[in-house]
């Protein structure tokens, strides 16, 4: 079946602009996660949804970052007033949300802020 889909695969934007990154999880997966991966680093947790609600948004770096999942499926990560330090690969993952469920990752969106 289809895996986790992320669009766009690449996004180049100017400093100060607004961007939206989209994630389409595996059908039936109730849990959805956003992670950020910088070069040479492991994925860093941003936010976790169980259904439509954000169960844990403690990883969002500041109030310029926001994510939604209005119907419990597709999620959008929104970044306002982008800064060069926001440049990274943004990974989305989904799972069944049970104790032993592994994460299934998309291929990520590479965001470059110039």
């Amino acid at each position: 079946g289809a895996g986790v889909s992320q669009t766009p695969s690449n996004k180049v934007t100017e400093k100060g602009k607004y961007v939206e990154l989209r994630c389409d999880p595996i059908s039936g997966h109730t849990a959805l996660y956003w992670y950020r991966q910088s070069l040479g680093q492991g994925p860093e947790f941003l936010i976790y949804f169980q259904g439509t609600g954000a169960a844990d948004d403690s990883g969002l770096p500041n109030d310029r970052f926001f994510a939604v999942r209005p119907e419990g499926s597709v999620s959008t990560l929104k970044i306002q007033r982008t800064e060069r330090g926001d440049s990274a690969v943004y990974l989305c993952a989904s799972s069944f949300g049970t104790d032993n469920s592994p994460l299934h990752f998309g291929n990520g969106t590479r965001l470059t802020v110039t």
């Binding site: 680093q41 492991g42 994925p43 947790f45 976790y48 994460l103 990752f105």
Partner: protein
């Protein structure tokens, strides 16, 4: 606080030789442990997990990992490496006491398998 350490940035092995990629963890409760592999410009792919039971778990592509509670380790192993195993490997832990299902990842180990 929960954390994962992968002490080696890079591991080099010859094709056909056994390989080990090291991982140690720290959690307050019982650990759920995972290994992922990442190929260039791709997302992370799940390899195997330890939740409970037998300390030796087997996963995809001939990989296995051994959970050692006393050493808080979960090293990834393969008896005979292939050139195609060359990739970036990440260890991850979830604390069973963590209601929000948060996964913590190590910084990754680059595996180079030489022909």
């Amino acid at each position: 606080a929960q954390s994962v350490a992968q002490p080696e940035d890079q591991v080099n092995v010859a094709e056909g030789n056994p390989l080990t990629v090291k991982c140690t963890y720290s959690v307050s409760g019982n650990p759920y442990l995972f290994w992922y592999v990442q190929y260039p410009n791709r997302g992370l792919q799940f390899l195997l997990k330890y939740i409970t039971g037998d300390n030796l778990v087997k996963g995809s592509y001939g990989f296995e990992a051994e959970f050692n509670k006393s050493q808080t380790s979960f090293h990834l192993k393969k008896p005979s490496a292939l050139v195609s195993d060359s990739a970036l490997y990440f260890c991850a832990v979830r604390d069973a006491k963590d209601n929000f299902n948060k996964f913590y990842f190590g910084s990754g180990t680059k595996l180079n398998v030489k022909p």
